[in-house]
């Protein structure tokens, strides 16, 4: 929902961008050279390089599908990825408790590009869309961090 009127948003967007820039400044100091990574979402798959180096990462996610898509970064555990009782979505809460859920992006509309900053230690990861049925329809891809 966007209850804010267009004109006010027009005014607020540059202000928010300015605030975001000031907040991002300390993070950039800690990670001197974050790796840029590009992920493309389509109905119903995610395209991403299979292997990357560990460390700070700036993940640019582009939704090229007709439907909205989320992006959830999960570290693979020993067990498989648990589903919620609806049998249609991944149980992110359990994964979070297990410390496997890294970070996520809220649903993005088709054509939108979003960025996700995260720090990945070496290991195996899986990137999924957790919209209802999307994971089960094939929207999951593996990522190996060395």
């Amino acid at each position: 929902m966007r209850p804010v009127s267009f004109s006010i948003a027009t005014v607020l967007v540059p202000v928010a961008a300015l605030m975001g820039a000031t907040q991002a400044a300390p993070a950039e100091k800690s990670t001197s050279h974050p790796t840029d990574l590009r992920a493309v979402e389509r109905d119903f798959r995610i395209s991403i390089p299979r292997h990357i180096s560990s460390g700070d990462l700036v993940l640019t996610v582009i939704n090229k599908g007709p439907d909205d898509h989320e992006l959830v970064v999960i570290r693979k555990g020993r067990a498989g990825i648990p589903l919620r009782p609806d049998g249609l979505t991944v149980d992110e809460e359990t994964l979070e408790k297990q410390g496997l859920k890294q970070r996520s992006l809220e649903p993005g509309a088709p054509g939108k590009t979003r960025q996700l900053r995260l720090h990945l230690e070496p290991g195996r990861y899986v990137l999924i869309c957790n919209m209802s049925g999307h994971f089960l329809a094939g929207m999951a891809t593996n990522l190996v961090v060395r």
Binding site: S5, D43, F44, D67, L88, P110, G133, L136, A137
Partner: protein, 789 residues
């Protein structure tokens, strides 16, 4: 700067009101465009929103229908009542309708079909296409399951890669995907609607602001225009030299600042009832009437300024009492005092004599007309006096026109002091005055005339000399009733002539006989004047014979007038008229010149003896006019004859004139005589000459009047007078000539009495020059023959 003046003028002439109409009209047009746009957008947006609402409704129910389809499949498979095919049909038709536009089928039987527009926008159409594909995969999988076919064999069209082989799981996942994409589609539509709404709000706000700005501009323009107009009018009113005043029931309510400049009074001093205090009392009633009723629209009244002067205001009065902006009578006034003064001066000049300041002929005539009109009504008597100065021309000729003018001024002053203020004294021109006496009968008029003559009797001092002039006054009295002014003036003129003919310096009262006699006289005067110009006059010569030798020794030149209307007019008929009118001067000059020329012709033809003289009559008026000596010398020079050939016959009255005139005439005659011109006393015995005067006058010939000659035979007194006259002539060294000798007896008598010369019908009538030439030639030839014998 003449250039900038032109520009300013051109700018000032452009009406300011039309200049402000353009911007106001433009602002109104913009305002109308904005309002139309705003309303149009609102209508379009509302219509669009209504369509989108139906789309959202159809899109939203697809979620439910997908899940219902799965339930229907599972229920039917479990042997319960369900119709998945119906649900599938709705799902598929709705998906198609959402994408391509058209009617979406109702979910319940009693609902109406929902018409949806064709989907717009790339994203929405992509989502709807994906939804249609997923519906297709869902319905395909459901149909396979119900048909006992392998669900795995159904090809997916929406790129889903479902790992599970459980057909029911696959159906549930497909339903979830369909539901999900339907939800997102709904959200896209909602977002789009929201964007439209935001755009609309933004646009409406912009239009509102533009409208507000336009309204402000419009207001500003109107206020500016109003201010400009107000300032313009204020400037016009305040800077105008014209007076603008508004009057209400309580008097003057407003007066423009120009009142200070025009009247030297403050606005506050003339407001209210004070205004009327400065209006001339004679004009107050008219002005009050005009201000009360708005009529007349134009009037001129007098207003006293701060210096006590009366200023004439030409005003235009407009009744604006019904105009709610004014509610009063507006007076626009212009100071026309200078113009009024100029008009008065021009009127004064037009009706007054510039020299004396008294009325002129036009004003006199006007006053006379008015008096006669009054007399016709009331029967009042009127008297008119015509005054012609005697001897004025001589003053002009001898002392110059300036002296003449001073004399006229003084006489006008004296006349004006003699009459009543109600009488009209006018100068008709030259030395002619006229007097109009209202309510005066003949007795009073005569009394006035005598007083005028009495006032003239006192000499007037002009350029150091004491001058005396008389006056001939004609009086006419009108006893009341209708009369024409021309007639009255003509009668006064006739009476004046009569007075002049009677010797001048007197008055004469008009009577009808005088009118007839003098009317003819005046007509004759005009005829003489015209005849002189047309050459109707000529000169005849009457021979004069020496009683000793019986030879023609001289001739008398006599003026002859052959009038085309009257025939031959005798000198006794026209000479008195010429004397009175002054025409005797040009006539006398004509005779003088013509006689000299004729003497020259005879002399050239060798017809004249040495002592032959051509005698020319000289009138008293010719002598009094002055310059006579020069006139004679010019005539002699022009004819190239010796002065001794010319003789001048002067009447006794001419040489007995008193004062300067007589002295000067005598001096001129003496001068001529000393040059050789002969002098004769004409008609001796009929005048008043005294022996003392004769002694002072160098006379060569005394002509004894015919009255004595014709009675000489039987009247002892005539004989005695003739004898004494002959003796007197001889005593002063002159010759004696008997006039009017008509018989041998008369000739014998005068011969016995010692006359030297004779003239009369016995010898010859006055004859044309040719006839005299013949006589002279005969006489010459006879003399030659006698000499030869």
């Amino acid at each position: 700067m003449p250039g900038s003046d032109t520009t300013e003028t051109a700018r000032a002439l452009k009406p300011f009101s039309t200049r402000s109409r353009g911007p106001i009209a433009a602002i109104l047009v913009v305002f109308a465009v904005f309002s139309t746009l705003s309303v149009g957008l609102s209508i379009r947006s509302t219509t669009g929103s209504r369509h989108q609402a139906t789309v959202v409704e159809v899109a939203a129910r697809q979620r439910t229908l997908a899940e219902r389809y799965v339930n229907d499949v599972l229920l039917l498979r479990a042997g319960q009542a369900a119709d998945p095919a119906y649900t599938a049909d709705i799902l598929e038709r709705s998906a198609d309708a959402l994408l391509a536009g058209g009617d979406a089928p109702p979910v319940n039987g009693d609902d109406d079909e929902i018409t949806v527009p064709r989907a717009q926008g790339t994203l929405l159409r992509a989502q709807l296409r994906q939804e249609a594909r997923l519906v297709n995969d869902l319905v395909g999988s459901g149909s396979a399951l119900l048909g006992g076919r392998s669900v795995l064999s159904v090809p997916f069209t929406a790129h889903e890669r479902i790992a599970t082989r459980n057909p029911i799981e696959r159906l549930r996942i497909l339903a979830a995907l369909t539901s999900n994409v339907s939800l997102n589609t709904t959200r896209t539509i909602a977002n789009k609607n929201e964007r439209h709404l935001n755009n609309l709000i933004t646009l409406q706000v912009a239009l509102g602001l533009a409208g507000l700005l336009t309204s402000l501009l419009l207001g500003w323009a109107l206020i500016a225009t109003t201010r400009r107009q107000t300032a313009h009018f204020r400037s016009l009113v305040t800077s105008s030299t014209d007076l603008v005043a508004v009057f209400g029931a309580a008097g003057c309510r407003y007066v423009s600042e120009s009142v200070r400049q025009m009247l030297g009074r403050a606005e506050s001093a003339v407001l209210g009832t004070a205004f009327m205090r400065f209006v001339h009392p004679d004009d107050r009633v008219a002005l009050r009437g005009a201000l009360a009723g708005g009529h007349p629209h134009e009037m001129t009244f007098r207003l006293q300024n701060g210096f006590g002067e009366w200023r004439h205001l030409e005003t235009h009065i407009t009744d604006l009492r019904s105009d709610r902006h004014v509610r009063g009578v507006v007076l626009n006034g212009r100071d026309v005092t200078e113009r009024v003064h100029l008009e008065e001066e021009l009127t004064r000049q037009a009706f007054h004599d510039s020299l004396t300041g008294i009325a002129n002929r036009a004003l006199f005539r006007d006053r006379l007309d008015q008096s006669l009109a009054r007399s016709a009504r009331t029967g009042d008597q009127i008297s008119v006096l015509f005054v012609d100065l005697d001897g004025f021309k001589h003053v002009n000729d001898t002392l110059g026109h300036d002296a003449g003018d001073r004399l006229l001024e003084e006489i006008a002053r004296r006349f004006a002091a003699t009459i009543r203020p109600s009488d009209t004294l006018a100068r008709l021109g030259g030395d002619e005055f006229a007097l109009l006496l209202d309510g005066a009968d003949e007795t009073l008029a005569v009394d006035v005339a005598e007083r005028l003559l009495y006032r003239l009797a006192t000499p007037v001092s002009v350029v150091g000399r004491e001058l005396s002039v008389g006056a001939s006054i004609g009086i006419v009295s009108h006893g009341g009733g209708p009369a024409a002014s021309e007639k009255l003036m003509r009668h006064a003129d006739v009476a004046m002539y009569a007075a002049k003919e009677g010797g001048g310096n007197r008055h004469a009262v008009f009577h009808e006989d005088m009118g007839r006699a003098l009317g003819e006289l005046i007509g004759l005067e005009n005829e003489i004047r015209v005849g002189l110009e047309r050459g109707e006059f000529s000169v005849d010569y009457q021979p004069q014979v020496s009683l000793g030798s019986r030879q023609i020794v001289s001739v008398e030149a006599l003026l002859r007038w052959q009038s085309p209307a009257r025939g031959l007019v005798p000198p006794t008929r026209f000479i008195p008229v010429a004397e009175v009118s002054g025409l005797i001067e040009p006539l006398g000059e004509f005779v003088l010149r013509e006689s000299c020329l004729q003497a020259a012709r005879w002399s050239q033809e060798l017809l004249l003896d040495d002592g032959f003289v051509v005698w020319v009559n000289v009138s008293a008026r010719q002598l009094a006019a002055g310059g006579f000596e020069r006139l004679v010398r010019n005539a002699l020079t022009a004819a190239e004859i010796l002065p001794g050939r010319l003789g001048l016959e002067i009447t006794e009255t001419a040489i007995v004139a008193d004062g300067d005139v007589g002295e000067r005439a005598m001096a001129e005659l003496r001068a001529l005589h000393s040059q050789g011109v002969h002098l004769a006393i004409d008609d001796f015995g009929t005048g008043f000459s005294s022996l003392a005067q004769l002694r002072r006058f160098p006379v060569d010939l005394i002509k004894i009047d015919r009255a004595f000659v014709q009675g000489i035979e039987h009247d002892a007194r005539d004989e005695a007078i003739t004898t004494h006259t002959v003796n007197l002539a001889h005593a002063i060294g002159a010759l004696a000539l008997a006039e009017g000798v008509e018989s041998e007896e008369q000739l014998t008598s005068i011969d016995v009495l010692g006359c030297d010369l004779a003239q009369g019908y016995l010898f010859a009538h006055p004859e044309p020059a040719d006839e005299v030439t013949r006589r002279l030639s005969d006489q010459r030839r006879a003399a030659k023959r006698a000499a030869a014998a």
